[in-house]
Amino acid sequence: MIDTPLNLLGALLLVAGAAFLLLGGLGLVRMPDLFNRIQAGTKATTLGTLLSLAGVACLQPDWGLKLLLIGLFILFTNPISSQVLARAAHRSGVEKSSLTSIDRLAEDQGAQP
């Protein structure tokens, strides 16, 4: 299978993508509250998925354009869904970690109810 430089590059990209996804999963377990977990989840899945897509594109060059489109959709939708989740969580008063040092949003909402 790994006989050409392109195949090797594809395999390496897939491993790198999987590694970032693993780190994201670890982040989900270790982070103290919902907001920090979303942070770990969003960034790791975006880069991990993009790297995996790039890896597949190296292994199957014919699929390149489709994979590029999938990557674009992920780049646009992933942060939006995270942002909406975070906003919904904040609005419904999800408990924040005791480490939290400041919350300007709650302050401002307290000022103008």
């Binding site: 103290p32 489109l69 942002q83």
Partner: protein, 165 residues
């Protein structure tokens, strides 16, 4: 006139996506694509702000690729930093929600800014309110509005200001 231009752009973009995803120019594929793109264009005429609000000036066209490059660089940095936090036994966090201000006026510029912030080192946009953005930060470094804006917003704003204003 601007509306007609936006509709044509939306139609062309939709049809382009359809053809790329299908990877074929057969008659039936083409006909279905044209019908679907037409219906969607009629229903959502004002919805393709990514393209229609883009300022097609030469300066903006040069800026767009450097924005993409800067963004990808920040995305990788963001992941490496997150990895170092997650892997360190002490879990060095100082989370908080700070308030920052943007100079961008257009809807699309603000959306891209919010998305970019979410995908870059330790920050997550929680709420948008006009020119104010509330950003969750894993390691709060500056609680002051201006200092936080300089840290979080300015890097992207430089590019987006040229592209969308």
């Amino acid at each position: 006139m601007a509306k007609a231009r936006a509709s044509v752009l939306l139609f062309a973009t939709l049809l382009g996506f359809w053809l790329l995803l299908n990877g074929s120019l057969a008659t039936d594929v083409l006909v279905i694509g044209v019908i679907a793109a037409l219906v969607i264009t009629l229903l959502f005429r004002d919805s393709l702000a990514v393209v229609s609000e883009f300022r097609a000036t030469p300066h903006a066209l040069i800026t767009a690729p450097s924005y993409v490059f800067y963004f990808l660089k920040e995305l990788v940095r963001s992941n490496l930093r997150l990895a170092s936090i997650v892997l360190s036994p002490a879990l060095p966090l100082r989370p908080g929600i700070v308030k920052v201000r943007t100079r961008l006026k257009s809807r699309m510029g603000r959306l891209l800014l919010a998305n970019s912030i979410t995908l870059t080192p330790g920050t997550l946009t929680v709420e948008l309110d006009g020119e104010w953005l509330y950003v969750h930060w894993v390691t709060v470094e500056s609680e002051d509005v201006d200092a936080a804006t300089a840290d979080i917003v300015n890097g992207f704003e430089r590019y987006l200001e040229v592209m969308y204003g």
